[in-house]
């Protein structure tokens, strides 16, 4: 009896609804990689469509593809296709959906892209306000002068 049930559930399809209304039909085992979705399923057993309010259709599509294809090779090439904005939005999606492998892959990729840039560039990219006083900032730049040797042009 138990065997039959698990066989049925592994081919069960689920519908995910992105924030812009786009629908995605995915297999249960794919959806389960998103721990947030898993928790939703655990709470309400007979659900067919799960709303994903924070993620646009275009990003949800990318996330689902990642889960299906992830392996060392795929991960290495994955991040190259997206610009910085998309990477951040994908990271927010992965964070909301709680997919640890994808979160790590994206964090590493964003870190790689900013590591040689200037603090000004980083502020722009993450929309950060400089809340240092001019004196504080000057002090930091002096103390860590060696870290500013060799910065990529923005």
């Amino acid at each position: 009896m138990a065997e039959e049930k698990s066989q049925a559930s592994s081919s069960k399809m689920l519908t995910l609804k992105a924030s812009d209304g786009v629908l995605f039909e995915v297999e249960l085992n794919i959806a389960k990689e998103m721990k947030t979705v898993q928790a939703y399923i655990d709470d309400c057993e007979d659900i067919e469509t799960i709303p994903i309010p924070n993620v646009l259709g275009k990003h949800l599509a990318i996330v689902i593809e990642y889960i299906k294809k992830t392996n060392e090779e795929y991960d290495a090439e994955f991040e190259k296709q997206w610009n910085m904005d998309d990477l951040q939005l994908l990271l927010l999606a992965a964070n909301y959906l709680n997919i640890s492998g994808l979160q790590e892959c994206l964090c590493k990729a964003i870190a790689k892209r900013i590591e040689n840039k200037s603090p000004e560039y980083v502020r722009k990219v993450f929309n950060i306000e400089n809340d240092h006083s001019p004196e504080e900032e000057a002090k930091l730049r002096k103390e860590y002068k060696w870290a500013f040797e060799g910065v990529d042009k923005d």
Binding site: Q88, I110, E115, I128, W146
Partner: protein, 386 residues
């Protein structure tokens, strides 16, 4: 585009230490990240097993007493922009007659040349150091002058090894004392290391497969029937203390008694992936040859590289290559009296020669690779006065 602070925290924990220091000036919250213990632990773990990005270049042990700028740090070509360490820490080490013995995952094992019993672990990025207390029994002049040190880091702990000659007539035996960083205690291995008849090159230890490996010297001081006539590798199992001899490739042994012949063993490939192994570098009559151990059990070696120094297109006219090492398991790094070069051994950069830097460390400088992380120096860590 705005990311919440906890996500920025995650992203930044994947950055090399130099970038983290640079981005402190972005804003106040980010400047505080690297002060948090959790951040330091994450960053250290995220970078564990990653390629080393810099090289410590120092004069050889004997010359180091008479040279002022004793400790130089240079970035590898690929990592020029994103790696390094504070200059004032390097000056401090240089001025205080320090010799760097080994480095792993951001920790640097040093001792004071003028007072060798002063051994310490330091992290140039966090500017912290922790002194390693040397057991009384080792502190007598004779024993300590001949003691050999090694450093090994695992994900959450480090070990410092000291091999001391027990001075027994035969067979030669080295007692292995191990300092466990996390507990702060010394333990002695039950079975000593039996290196056989030859002198071992303790300066180039290789940690692999749960054992420490050393290559012997290759001087001609044994006669043919002796089992130690040919040079060899001796491994020391760190679990059970057994010493096992490994053969060298036949071509390496040929002509090894020649005075210009120098051989070294190093880690090959990535320790993390299953293709990791040992490799042997032979520099003889100005030609480099490299073999890797294809099959450990059967001791079968495969030659992967052979190149004359003259064919490398180096800048100097006087091509006196004196020291060499393998960095990150795939890069042959070697020094002339003035410059340090690298030669790729992997598919992508095979036989590509690059100049890394010029140096002032004289002939036969010591080359030790380094990765800048926020790794903790363990218990007893204090701030360096610099």
């Amino acid at each position: 585009m705005e990311v919440p602070q906890d996500i920025a925290f995650e992203i930044f924990s994947w950055l090399p230490a130099k970038s983290i220091c640079k981005f402190k000036s972005t804003c106040n919250p980010i400047s505080k990240f690297s002060e948090e213990t959790l951040f330091r632990i994450k960053q250290t773990q995220n970078l564990f097993g990653k390629d080393d990005t810099c090289l410590f270049i120092q004069p050889n042990e004997i010359s180091q007493r008479y040279v002022t700028e004793r400790v130089e740090l240079h970035s590898l070509p690929k990592h020029q922009l994103s790696s390094g360490a504070p200059n004032n820490v390097l000056s401090f080490l240089s001025k205080n007659t320090t010799s760097v013995i080994a480095s792993s995952n951001g920790l640097v094992l040093c001792h004071n040349i003028d007072d060798p019993v002063k051994v310490f672990i330091c992290n140039p990025i966090t500017k912290s150091w922790s002194s390693i207390p040397i057991p009384e029994s080792l502190q007598t002049q004779n024993n300590f002058a001949n003691a050999k040190f090694m450093l090994h880091c695992s994900l959450d702990d480090y070990k410092v090894f000291i091999f001391e000659n027990t001075m027994e007539w035969a067979p030669t035996c080295y007692r292995c004392n191990v300092y466990h960083g996390k507990e702060g205690v010394w333990k002695t291995m039950e079975h000593g290391f039996l290196p056989g008849g030859r002198n071992m090159e303790f300066d180039i230890p290789v940690f692999f497969n749960g054992s420490l490996h050393f290559i012997s010297d290759s001087g001609q001081y044994f006669m043919k029937p002796s089992p130690f006539y040919k040079p060899y590798i001796m491994s020391y199992n760190l679990e059970n203390g057994t010493s096992t001899m490994l053969r060298l490739p036949r071509e390496a042994i040929r002509g090894c008694h020649h005075i210009t012949c120098k051989m070294g063993i190093f880690n090959w490939g990535k320790a993390s992936n299953s293709n990791g192994s040992l490799c042997l570098v032979k520099l003889s009559k100005s030609t480099f040859t490299v073999w890797f151990l294809g099959d450990y059990e059967s001791c079968s070696w495969e030659k992967v590289f052979k190149m004359r120094v003259k064919a490398m297109g180096l800048k100097e006219k006087d091509l006196d290559v004196t020291s060499f090492t393998i960095v990150n398991g795939i890069l042959l790094v070697f020094a002339t009296n003035e410059r340090v070069y690298s030669c790729g051994l992997d598919d992508k950069r095979f036989m590509m020669i690059e100049e890394i830097c010029q140096h002032n460390c004289g002939s036969n400088p010591r080359i030790i690779s380094y990765l800048d992380t926020y790794r903790s120096c363990g218990i007893n860590a204090e701030t360096m006065p610099c």
